[in-house]
Subunit: 294 residues, 2 copies
């Protein structure tokens, strides 16, 4: 199966699994459930679920086992977007080519949507998974929680907020992104690997891969924010510059940022070497992330 066929298949099964996990829009409170579905369904590249399934594929894990961790990570990601777009945060009206949640509904609803999506992530991953030992599943929940919380994604948001208008050096910028986007991307890869009962050294290699991918993802995002149009992105372009946010492009310049992306892709490929052909999908995903820009 070629990469794009594989990717479409994962995206479709992810959409179905999200659809099934989200409460029906007819269920009370209907307005909240409708807004939760609006924020999650029908958009996004599902990069985190793709990484989770790709990591699981190294160990020949069935997609039906990987769906729960894959959508748990995606629900955390979706909640973070809804809260990030709120007026007190990034104040963004556009998300995935549609009005953002608080614009389509209202701020109070968007706040509750984000809250309830986070809960739904943990609810989903606490359903007993067939073929996974309960103790391992607890470890997976713990891993997702640590990646999402104040020492992971939410902490990265706090560092980001504090950095607006500041001059960061490249090390400080990296520290922020390791938390803000890197931690959750890393959890997507590791959760897939945990489903395969990966040995500690395999988890370590995959952790290194995920760290490169997390930074790569952010460098590419910064390049796109600087160079692509709002229509292409489906979110407001040029926002980082307008908000005076530090980015790889404004610290390194566009050419250096692109060189950094190439280097991170190569590093990601190199660290997959021990897995040989079984890591095909992770290999291809590194390419896919870079090729959004060039």
């Amino acid at each position: 199966m070629d990469f794009s066929t594989w990717m479409s298949g994962i995206q479709q099964r992810t959409e179905s699994a999200l659809e099934a996990a989200l409460p029906a829009p007819t269920l009370a409170p209907a307005n909240l459930h409708e807004a939760m579905r609006y924020a999650v369904l029908g958009g996004g590249k599902r990069v985190r679920p793709l990484l989770c399934h790709a990591a699981g594929s190294i160990f020949n894990i069935a997609g039906s086992v990987l769906d729960a961790p894959a959508i748990a990570v995606e629900l955390i990601h979706a909640y973070s977007l809804v809260h990030d777009d709120l007026p007190c945060m990034d104040d963004d009206d556009l998300r995935r080519g549609k009005p953002s949640c608080h614009v389509q509904y209202d701020e109070a609803t968007a706040l509750l949507v984000g809250d309830a999506l986070q809960t739904l992530a943990f609810q989903t991953l606490s359903n007993r998974l067939a073929g996974i030992a309960a103790a391992r599943q607890l470890d997976m929940l713990h891993l997702l929680a640590v990646a999402s919380g104040s020492r992971g994604m939410a902490g990265g948001q706090a560092i980001d907020l504090a950095a607006v208008g500041q001059q960061l050096d490249i090390g400080e910028l990296e520290f922020m992104h390791i938390h803000k986007t890197g931690a959750l991307i890393r959890s997507a890869v590791l959760l897939g690997a945990h489903c395969g009962e990966a040995a500690p050294d395999a988890l370590e290699h995959l952790g290194h891969y995920a760290n490169r991918i997390g930074l790569l993802f952010q460098v590419v995002d910064d390049i796109l924010d600087a160079e692509a149009s709002t229509a292409t992105l489906g979110k407001t372009a040029g926002k980082d510059a307008a908000q005076n946010k530090p980015t790889y492009v404004n610290i390194l310049g566009a050419r250096e940022a692109k060189a950094m992306a190439s280097k991170l892709r190569q590093d990601a490929h190199d660290v997959l070497a021990p897995f040989g052909a079984s890591a095909l999908r992770l290999h291809e995903l590194a390419d896919f992330i870079v090729e959004r820009t060039f």
Copy 2:
């Protein structure tokens, strides 16, 4: 041990457990961690941890086992207060006698504080608990998630928002509170019972108890909001009337609301009968909740 000695002991161990679970204020991002600690420590009656420990005491479960579920529920409660106080929700400046989190810090920080406290609840409860089977612990996580999410607490908030300025009848009001406060109170009792590997019929009795306590708690809260002063409450008194929110007092009148509280206390006591003397603390907690008012 008399009730008030028992209660102080649980409150103290809850404070210590929360203190230990919350990241140190020196750990990066320091501002977020300081604000999380501000929102959680040094206040509150810890009713939910008391209920969890009281339910566990029926089965002679050690306090050291009950601490984790007790503080997980309290962290969910604390996150909900921080988000409820935000300007787009109840817009309340005062909480537990102090400026509320977004007043002391800022809205963006308070948003992240709530988000990270929710995550910390699930992180705490996914740490392996000594003496509890992993499969049961997964069930406990699932129970907490369902109680907190769109079909529980967060859903109750959404129903509450939609009810502002509406005429609710007593049935609709009860439906709102079963979700908004009842679900989490119920989870506190059931999590304590799960630590004791309670049999299904015991869980059912305790579920009935918890349902009465959840409503009792809300009726008492409405009476206090109408009758007590801001100084006594440590939060803004008379807020429900000012915001034109439906309450038991304005639907039933103060006298009927108090009669309802007495009846709920009696029902809560009655349903504990099968447990005999082992349910002493749950029995006393029903009294404690009522005696805040009379």
